[in-house]
């Protein structure tokens, strides 16, 4: 019997330069299609989205930070699990990962309403890739259809691959180096780290204990497994904002 994991991530906001490599790697890994013509920031699909936030001061005192927001993998009273009428969302007790089963999803979007982090996305259109580009799809992840909700699952396909590799080698535990989500692998600044929060020797678990570490909307008690950190006071303060700043008045 293997020990239960509690996979989580730590994000150093002071290192994030907002390049977007994590968003691109996520889309490539999880077969997320390019935006249709009518898509915008509210109707697009980005399992991880880097928000540009600021301290609300006028130029030249204004300062900017980049905050990657993905499914926070709530560890307690997971809101989306509670509201799903189809049992299309569950928490894997073996990994702590909040999973989404699009084939069960009805598209009612209760989970999107319930999610306090705006980290769930609805497929408004059938997935379409330019002619020929479907050859570049990842065979480990099935594309989702129009009318279902999807979200980050810590690259579950990679976890399965790591499990299979460990099983083939006759091991009961996966090698941590074999299971790294695409966004973490892609981050050129090293701002993202991933691992088992139950393993006190893991970097991610140590990051979570740092004094400058915080979680988004900590006061609502959902026990997210994404731990942010920043030495800037104003950045830590926005963690308790009900909605990430920068959602309105987009420049993109």
């Amino acid at each position: 019997m293997t020990a239960h994991k509690r996979y989580g991530m730590s994000i150093d906001i002071d290192k994030c330069n907002g390049c977007g490599a994590c968003m691109m790697a996520c889309a490539v890994e999880n077969n997320i299609p390019p935006a249709p013509e009518a898509a915008n920031d509210r109707r697009g699909v980005t399992w991880i989205r880097v928000y540009k936030v600021d301290n609300h001061l006028a130029y030249p005192e204004r300062r900017t930070a980049f905050v990657p927001v993905l499914c926070q993998q709530c560890g307690h009273d997971t809101p989306c699990v509670h509201v799903c009428p189809q049992q299309a969302v569950d928490v894997d007790p073996q990994t702590g990962i909040v999973g989404q089963m699009p084939e069960r999803c009805l598209g009612c979007r209760y989970c999107m309403v319930a999610c306090p982090y705006h980290a769930r996305y609805f497929n408004w259109w059938d997935p379409k890739w330019p002619a020929g580009m479907e050859k570049t799809l990842n065979p480990d992840v099935a594309p989702r259809m129009r009318g279902v909700v999807e979200k980050c699952n810590f690259c579950h396909g990679r976890w399965h691959a790591a499990q299979q590799k460990a099983a083939a080698a006759g091991q009961s535990e996966i090698d941590p180096a074999d299971y790294v989500p695409a966004c973490v692998e892609a981050c050129p600044t090293g701002a993202l780290r991933f691992g088992d929060l139950n393993d006190s020797s893991a970097e991610v678990a140590q990051d979570a204990q740092r004094p400058e570490s915080f979680r988004l909307l900590e006061k609502i008690g959902t026990e997210p497994k994404i731990h942010y950190r920043s030495r800037r006071d104003w950045v830590r303060e926005i963690a308790s904002a009900p909605r990430p700043e920068g959602k309105d008045g987009l420049r993109g």
């Binding site: 290192k15 330069n17 907002g18 390049c19 977007g20 490599a21 968003m23 691109m24 790697a25 889309a27 490539v28 890994e29 077969n31 997320i32 390019p34 935006a35 915008n40 920031d41 697009g44 699909v45 980005t46 989205r49 928000y51 130029y59 030249p60 204004r62 900017t64 980049f66 189809q86 699009p102 084939e103 069960r104 999803c105 009805l106 059938d126 997935p127 890739w129 330019p130 002619a131 020929g132 580009m133 479907e134 050859k135 570049t136 799809l137 990842n138 065979p139 992840v141 099935a142 594309p143 989702r144 259809m145 692998e185 050129p188 600044t189 920068g246 008045g249 987009l250 420049r251 993109g252």
Partner: protein, 594 residues
């Protein structure tokens, strides 16, 4: 008991209501969803043998090492190569999705090759005395650049043109303080992995009017008044007083004084947004030459190539003299604004562009020939600005071209009558013959001295995932820099100073870049500008309103965004060749309502 119509309806109605209390109908809905998941309109990813292949990214001069995950030979994802000593396993967002480019819907898929060759031959035979045939190479420093130069040397009155390539490299590992005049250090400058690996050891002072990605992560950001960089440079060099610089630039005296102290405390380097900027001459003042700013080194070349044509900037070409212009735009690189090129063309000039995109010079050329895109072509990448030792790395093709393409180097060599050879192999042999340096094999992460590798194995490893790096050797100081710094002249009709929000990249980008541009607010799309609330208000411009951006070079329809992070008097513009044509030769602009 008789069965009445009423009883029958009661039974059916009761049965239907009762069925709703059972799991059956709900299960049916789930099953329907399961069925609909397999609609034929949703593509099914191909399955097959999975293996890794290595190459190098050619989308910018960094040339990061790439590990491609392939299914049946088709790349399905790209990642960095962790043990690489320069790129350190990092890729930028463009590089991560580079394998999508061959399938881009806007790709140039065909072109009039025969007609273009005939027009070029006709123009060459009919050209008058003093008229030139020229190649404009947007990515100088490659092996194919040497082919282009050799071709121009072989032609009567041939001229090789390229954007100015710095004669220096920056050694960030030696710097304790980096003073950057708008250089996008964390957003496209040099090799991303190399910059972030060195980051912990230097203090960054970013001097620019707008808080860019680099300024946001800098240790100190000095929000300078646009166009006053020369005054700041003079103060840092001790040529004017700090008080005078503070008055001109709007930066506090204490902040300028602190930067001067930081520079004096240890090895420093000055960077500028334009690598050819006279601001780079401050490095001589700070004793950085030969230490953090060193002479650029290139991989050895065959002896015969040394008779190639010299590299010229566009400004060196005589006006009205170019009868045939061949533009190699196959790789994104430095962009020369069309306003700088046009005066150099003869009245009846023939312009041929090799490109995969119809957005760049294709808008101005008579003939557009489809060029291969990454990762279709075998190329090499010259050393990046932050690469100190000479390197040689080949971008081995991961797939065959998906449309009929023309290889620019081969065609230009054919026009010039050069023998058809494999220049990459010739150069690899020259490097092997020199016997210096080591060969890093990405598959096993081992470095081997070149002397211990046969020429064939050297070539094979370079093509299957490897990189040659020269011995570190003694650092040499680069040639001197020009010292005159000019500020954009004020213009009454054009009150705004242009600042680039994004690197002016050319060429195609993955359709997935919509995630960063339209599906989030992370990057500015090509037709956007950002204004301060004050400037927007004074011009009656609303957020998201359609406007016209005007410079001395022309006009462009844009969408204006109001951003309190943009100072008054500045317009922040997106990237792309249209913006480069409009703003590249003119740093003053105005924005008016459409």
């Amino acid at each position: 008991m008789t069965t009445t119509r009423r009883n029958l309806l009661k039974f059916v109605g009761g049965g239907a209501a009762g069925a709703l209390l059972t799991p059956a109908p709900w299960r049916l809905i789930t099953d329907t969803a399961l069925w609909s998941e397999n609609w034929p309109g949703i593509p099914r990813p191909a399955r097959g043998e999975i293996h890794a292949r290595f190459t190098h990214c050619t989308l910018c001069p960094a040339g990061c090492a790439v590990r491609a995950r392939c299914v049946n030979g088709q790349p399905v994802s790209l990642a960095g190569v962790k043990p690489h000593p320069i790129s350190h396993g990092a890729l930028c967002p463009w590089g991560i999705a580079g394998h999508h480019l061959p399938y881009h819907p806007a790709r140039v898929r065909q072109g009039p090759v025969k007609e273009a060759l005939a027009a070029v031959a006709r123009a060459i035979s009919q050209r008058g005395a003093g008229e030139r045939i020229a190649v404009l190479d947007l990515r100088p420093g490659r092996t194919v650049s040497w082919t282009n130069r050799r071709a121009m040397a072989a032609m009567d009155n041939g001229l090789y043109l390229a954007p100015l390539q710095p004669a220096y490299s920056i050694d960030l590992t030696e710097a304790q303080t980096v003073v950057s005049f708008g250089a996008p250090l964390f957003d496209g400058w040099g090799t991303p992995g190399n910059v972030f690996a060195a980051r912990a050891n230097f203090r960054l002072v970013q001097i620019e009017p707008v808080e860019t990605r680099t300024a946001a992560l800098a240790d100190v950001w000095l929000p300078i008044r646009p166009g006053t960089e020369a005054a700041m440079a003079a103060a840092l060099a001790g040529e004017t007083t700090i008080a005078e610089a503070a008055r001109v630039t709007g930066v506090k005296e204490e902040a300028i004084g602190a930067v001067k102290e930081a520079i004096a405390s240890g090895p420093a380097v000055v960077l500028a947004e334009d690598p050819a900027s006279p601001l780079m001459s401050l490095n001589a003042k700070f004793h950085a030459l030969g230490r953090t700013v060193v002479a650029r080194r290139e991989a050895p070349i065959p002896e015969a190539w040394k008779r190639a044509a010299p590299v010229n900037e566009m400004a060196a070409a005589p006006d009205g003299a170019i009868r045939v212009l061949l533009i190699d735009e196959s790789l994104p690189g430095g962009y020369v604004p069309w306003q700088d090129i046009q005066p150099k063309l003869a009245a009846n000039a023939v312009v041929v562009v090799f490109s995969s995109s119809s957005e760049g010079y294709a808008r101005h050329a008579q003939y557009v020939l489809p060029a291969p895109v990454y990762p279709e072509a075998a190329e090499d990448i010259g050393p990046a600005i932050d690469t100190v030792p000479a390197v040689f790395r080949i971008a081995a093709p991961l797939i065959a071209p998906v449309v009929p393409v023309v290889n620019p180097g081969e065609l230009i060599a054919r026009i010039a009558g050069l023998p058809q050879t494999d220049p990459l192999r010739e150069r690899a042999d020259a490097i092997h013959k020199a016997g210096r340096g080591t060969l890093l094999n990405y598959a096993d992460g081992k470095s081997t001295p070149v002397k211990q590798v046969s020429a064939d194995d050297f070539w094979k490893t370079l093509n299957q995932g490897g990189c040659w790096m020269d011995d570190s050797g003694k650092k040499a100081a680069p040639p001197g820099f020009s010292r005159s710094v000019t500020s954009p002249a004020p213009h009454d009709d054009l009150p705004l100073t242009v600042v680039a929000a994004e690197a002016r990249r050319g060429g195609l980008e993955s359709p997935l870049m919509s995630k960063l541009e339209r599906e989030s607010n992370l990057r500015m799309t090509a037709n956007r500008v950002a204004l301060s609330p004050a400037d927007a208000r004074s011009n009656g411009i609303e957020n998201g309103g359609h406007c016209v951006l005007e410079t001395a070079c022309g006009r462009l329809s844009v969408v204006a965004m109001i951003d309190a992070g943009v100072p008054a008097g500045v317009v922040e513009v997106a990237g792309g060749p249209r913006m480069a044509d409009l703003c590249g030769a003119s740093q003053r602009a105005r924005v008016v309502r459409a």
